[in-house]
């Protein structure tokens, strides 16, 4: 009797929790749960899976707590059993070692699957991804487009429906590049060229921000991401290149790199093509494997065992890429 009541209560609770999650997923303020690209979508699904799996144990635990505390409180007329020496049960212990193991097993499997899935870019063989280089500075974001030969600050435009390959570094304290609706963040680190693959499925404006504290004006390190249809994007890039915008020179870069924040987006009609590589190299990039193949980026390679004896011989270097 009591058992079924218990279960039904649990069901109600579970559904309530689920609706809350789903509801919040629909609300547009909760941008992490409102994905606009394949990477963010995978991550959002994973978040929901993990919430459900955790809820499977957590909710019964909370219910059990409430039940036990109510039932066994110390009142004179409490008739429930009192067994002060009952302290051991093989069966019960097996159950509660077992259940978490199973849950963690399932969650772990999903995690590993998506970890590998997201390490590889989701690029169809025939599409050519757009490459954008990202440099975090004190306290602004510089974006350079090697193919379009233009540069922007605190603003990045991408073609919708096309995978974008961000190559990221920092010429200042580390930061982290985050566009929640397109996908999770990754660090920008001096001397390294990190890879991040994002894609916007639909045109739109997305919130982008620096996520890792980098000093005084860190709070102002936001940038706007705008996804436009390919044609419009091409148009825009051309317009920037041929428009009235100044060119970013090496001296101009030195000036830009000085600490300070930038209020409004800035556009440059061109930039020194080797700029990004120079920044990486200057800050220690020479210690990384050169010339990784971007299309293989993130593929786990064999040879991790060597990593433990040889100063990290050649495993996983493919993650890194010098942008060449």
């Amino acid at each position: 009797m009591g058992k079924t009541k218990w279960l039904s209560r649990l069901k109600v609770l579970l559904t309530a929790a689920m609706t809350m999650v789903l509801l919040s997923g629909c609300s547009d303020k909760f941008i992490v749960l409102d994905p606009k690209g394949p990477v963010a979508e995978t991550q959002q699904k994973l978040i929901i899976i993990s919430v459900i799996l955790c809820a499977i144990v957590v909710i019964p635990v909370l219910a059990l707590l409430a039940f036990i505390v109510y039932r066994y409180r110390d009142t004179p007329d409490n008739k429930s059993p009192y067994k002060p020496d009952w302290h051991d049960s093989k069966l019960l212990e097996t159950i509660w070692w077992g259940i978490p193991i199973i849950i963690i097993g399932i969650l772990g499997a999903y995690t590993v699957r998506d970890t590998y899935a997201l390490a590889k870019p989701k690029v169809a063989a025939d599409t050519k991804p757009l490459v954008i280089q990202v440099t975090s500075l004190d306290w602004k974001w510089l974006f350079t487009y090697p193919d379009q030969k233009i540069a922007t600050v605190n603003y990045v435009q991408i073609p919708a429906g096309v995978p974008v390959h961000f190559q990221m570094t920092s010429d200042a304290p580390m930061n982290s590049f985050w566009v929640p609706q397109l996908g999770g963040q990754a660090y920008t680190m001096p001397g390294m060229a990190m890879q991040l693959w994002l894609q916007a499925d639909q045109p739109g404006e997305y919130y982008g921000t620096g996520a890792n504290f980098s000093g005084k004006e860190f709070a102002h390190m936001r940038f706007q991401v705008e996804a436009k249809p390919q044609a419009e994007f091409n148009e825009w890039a051309k317009g920037i290149a041929s428009g009235p915008n100044a060119a970013l020179t090496k001296e101009g870069y030195q000036e830009l790199a000085k600490p300070g924040s930038v209020e409004k987006p800035v556009f440059y009609s061109s930039y020194p093509p080797e700029l990004f590589d120079e920044i990486v190299d200057k800050n220690g990039g020479s210690y990384m494997e050169h010339g990784g193949n971007p299309h293989k980026a993130g593929e786990p390679e064999a040879g991790k065992s060597e990593g433990t004896t040889g100063g990290g011989s050649n495993h996983d270097m493919s993650h890194m890429n010098m942008g060449k």
């Binding site: 001397g191 390294m192 494997e289 004896t309 040889g310 990290g312 890194m320």
Partner: protein, 110 residues
């Protein structure tokens, strides 16, 4: 002050060691030092093999010192020092190997 729980049976077999032990330990460690030096200076084997061999020899030498000089096997039971040491060496391994694994991706190969 308070009575250490396992203090009382310790008197019989304290960690002493004998001259013979020390001499054997000394000779062994000299040999175990000379071998790697010779191997490396004369380029006897190729690189990876040499690294493996000299690391193994270093570990052996470590064990020799523990046994012959530091009398790890002697002393009262339970040997908490041995347990702590084993766990410690294990953690050292985790620190070194883990760092190399994690940082490996941004370290250049020689």
């Amino acid at each position: 002050m308070a009575q250490p729980t396992q203090g009382h049976d310790a008197h019989g077999h304290e960690a002493h060691g004998s001259l013979k032990q020390y001499v054997i330990g000394f000779l062994l460690s000299i040999v175990l030092t000379i071998i790697p030096i010779v191997l490396v200076m004369n380029h006897v084997f190729e690189k990876t093999a040499t690294i493996v061999i000299i690391m193994v020899l270093a570990v052996m030498q470590f064990l020799i010192q523990l046994v012959f000089f530091m009398h790890l096997r002697e002393g009262e039971k339970p040997r908490y020092n041995v347990m702590a040491l084993i766990l410690g060496v294990f953690i050292v391994f985790v620190i070194v190997a883990g760092s190399m694994w994690i940082m490996g991706f941004n370290s250049m190969v020689q």
